[in-house]
Every structure is written in C-alpha cells, then in structure tokens.
Amino acid sequence: MNEGMRQHTGFLPSLRRIYALILRHTYLLRSSGPRILELMYWPTVQMILWGFITLFLVNHSSWIAQASGVLLSGVLLWDVLFRSQLGVSLVFMEEMWSRNLGHLFVSPLRPTELACALLSMSLIRTLIGVGGAALIAIPLFHFSVFSLGLPLLAFFVNLIIMGWSIGLLVSGIVLRYGLGAESMAWIAIFAVQPVSGVYYPIDTLPDWLQYVAAILPSSHVFEGMRAVVVDHTFRADLLLKAAGLNVIYLAAGFFSFLAFFNIARVRGQLLHVGE
C-alpha cells in the first residue's frame, strides 16, 4: 500500500468513505441557497395549508375540535416519510445527473457505504425541511409537534426508516431503468399515502385495504400518533409492529438496491448514465 494512504478495510475506513460522500452533498447544499429553501418550501406550504384547514374545522368538526393538532401532526409526520424517501432518491440521482457513478465505483467505496451515505444525507435533509416547517408552525398556529414528547421520536425514527427503505428501492429502480424513471422518486411514496391513514383512522378504509394497511409501518405510526393526540395514550403495541415491519422493509431496501446495482454492473449502466 502507498505510504501516504490509510488502511482501506475495516469499520473506520468505511466510516471515512461514508463521511466523504456526506461531505460531497453538504458542499452541494452549502453552495446553493435555493436548494436549502427548496427543502423547506413544500413542508412549510403543506403545513400552512393544513393549519388553516384545521382552524376552519375546529369550529365545524367535533372530532377536530377535540384534538386540533391531529391534522398538523399528520401533515408534518407525513412529510418526514416523504422527505426521507425523497432525500435518499434525490441524493442518489445527483450522482447520476453528474455522471459521477463511474468514478465513485472505481474508488474503494462499497455500494453499502454509498447507501449509508444516502441515508445520512436523507436524515440531514429531512431535519432541515420538516424541522423548519415544524418551527414555523409554533408562532403561526400555536401548535408544536414537539409537544408529542418522546413518542414523536419513535414516530420520527419509524417513518424515516420506512422512507429510507422505499428510497433505496426507488434508487435501485432508477439505476436499473435510467433517468427516464426518475419521476418515481416523486410519486412512488404517494401510493401508500391513502392506506397509511395520515389524516383519518385506518378503520375508515374498506376491510380489504385494512389488510394492506396492516403491512405498512406508516399506518401503525399514524394510528399511534392519533392515540397520543386524541386519546392521550401511548400505544407501544403499534410502535412495536411498525418497528418489526421496518426491520423487514430496511433489509428489503438494501437488498433491492444491491440487486439493482449488480444488474447495472451486468448491463454496463454504471459508466453510461447521465443527463
């Protein structure tokens, strides 16, 4: 090994390479004010829209009147799921847009390390985007999602892991099918929104859709959120179901990303990607 270089195998070198990629995307964010504003734009617009809907419904719906924070909590937590998925997919697509994958994958960087860097960047982007909207909601609607207390952390962790899993799957699909499939990054997650019970209880759904909801971590999180906001109880059973499902989802997300990566190596797509 070259004497000017560090060791390449083991946990610390792996962390160093993950950090290098996080640094790459932090440089990108830092150099572009519009990118940071864009991160906060939609969560804030959604929060303001649902904030006013809540103000209206407080006087017209007894259910909302009992728990005025239920819609705003729903919209902010939904954005955690959406932004975490989008964060993974967009950061990966940045590498495709810049035709950088060929250089990355002839460096000592492993695909799993790239995936871990994507998850870390997704966390940073979600905290900036949804965190900003959550803070603006406090003076604007006198509502603090942080009043959910510790359960908020559990909801956040579960939603972000589910978002990561779908983000890894979508990134793999974009790698396999090319940038023609990039719209998947924006639309894929919305397939689970109606079944997740973001704004209404799961028992609103027809029976057969409730079975679908049962295998989504998000539906258990939003049910748990309503239990805290409406009934002031913490449902550990729902949280455990969400966490158990998320173990499977995350493993499937990593597996699909690596499988699509291998297909890309067979088809020669790592070298010939770009705008």
Partner: protein
Amino acid sequence: MSSSVVSVSRLCKYFGQVMAVDDISFEVASHSTTALLGGNGAGKTTTLSMLLGLLLPTSGSVSIFGVDMLRDRYRVLPRVNFSSPYVDLPRRLTVRENLTIYARLYGIIDISARIHALTEELQIGRFLGRPYGQLSAGEKTRVVLAKALLNEPELLLLDEPTASLDPDTADYVRGLLESFRKRTGTTILLASHNMSEVERLCDDVIMLRAGKLVDRDTPAQLLTRYGRRNMEEVFIDIARERHLEISLDQKQSADK
C-alpha cells in the same frame, strides 16, 4: 520481461445477443504503458470497464496484482485509478472540493499536501476554487487527471485521455503522463484511437477489432510487420482487415 500487473483470460462480454468483447486474453507488464487500440465499437471501453469491475463479464477472468477482480476487487481498487470521457465529476462543486472528496475516498493521509503537489504538477492552482462545471474541456481533463493521480496509483487506466482536446492541451497531457510514469513507474493501460499518442507513449499495443484481439506488439514491430510508416496506417490496415492477409503471408512464408 517484468511480471504482469494485469492478466486477462478468455474474456467475453455479450449484451443480449450483441457480442462486445469476444474471448480476449492478454497480460500487461509491470511499469509498461500499453495501448488498447481500436476503432469505435472495438471493445476498448468495455474491456477497461471489465478490468475495473464496473461491468461484469459474461465469461472469463481478470486479475490485477494477482487478485481476482470478480471476487476481491476492493483489495485492488485503492491501488488503481481511472479516467474516462464517459464519467464526470460533480459540476457544482469546486475543483478543490472534488479533489478533497476523492482524497478522502482513497484514504489519503495529508490531503492538503497531496492536493498542493498535484496543483503544482498539473498547473490547476488558478481554478482550484472554481466550480468544475465552469471549466473548459482542457481544464476539466487536467482536473480529472489530478483525481486519477490522487492515490499515486500503481495501475492507471485511461480511456481516451486526450479525446476532444486541442493539440496543445493534448500534447501537454501526454507530456504529463510521460513524466508521471518516469517518476513513479506506474503501469498505464490506455484506450485510444489517437495514433500519435500511442506512438509517443506506449511500449506495447493491443489491437482490437469488433471485440476480438487481432494483433499485439510494440509500435516499432507493428510498423515493420505491416510495412507502414506510422501507426495510423497500421490502424487502417487492421480496420480494413488487412491483418488477415499479413497473417496468411507470414504463415505461407513459414511453411516454405
């Protein structure tokens, strides 16, 4: 003869029914500069991609530094680097940021010192703070070359290193590669269809045509064998399949 750094055995690549590389075998000697020469679609980039593990072969094997690249490429990649016109660097990041990231990926210990040394060597100091995307083609080539030299690779794979450069910049890049090789003893394998580049830089030439290895020798020996004055004429002979006649003539001479 020095020991071989790259060893390729019966390498094939099919994309569906389309054959891109057809049963090629070769070795690249340590400290040599070897050219993979061939026209468009000859299989040069496909071969380089398989050497690096960016592309999985349909069959055959590749070993670099005696390590099987299909099984254990991460043991080798820290000792290798690569540049190609088909890949780019993040355009919105400055040159310094790009080099810093790749220095970290390659585990360079003193990043500032290494970037400083490359800045001097490649004369990229005046645009270190500029976004990569705002550079001219020649400046970009120098930056990509700086990235490729960051880890002082023992094996450097270059895909068309002077493609789309003006003659002056191309000459500068060739001079740089010559001096780098002299200084470090790095083994270089470059894919090119620029004949003057091959004549100037390479000790050994592997000729590819339609995915097949059709000839191999030093530039001087190829010129003698084909009875030509320069490599461009040899290239045209091979592109027009004259090498088959030459092989037949040689066989008949041997039989007599």
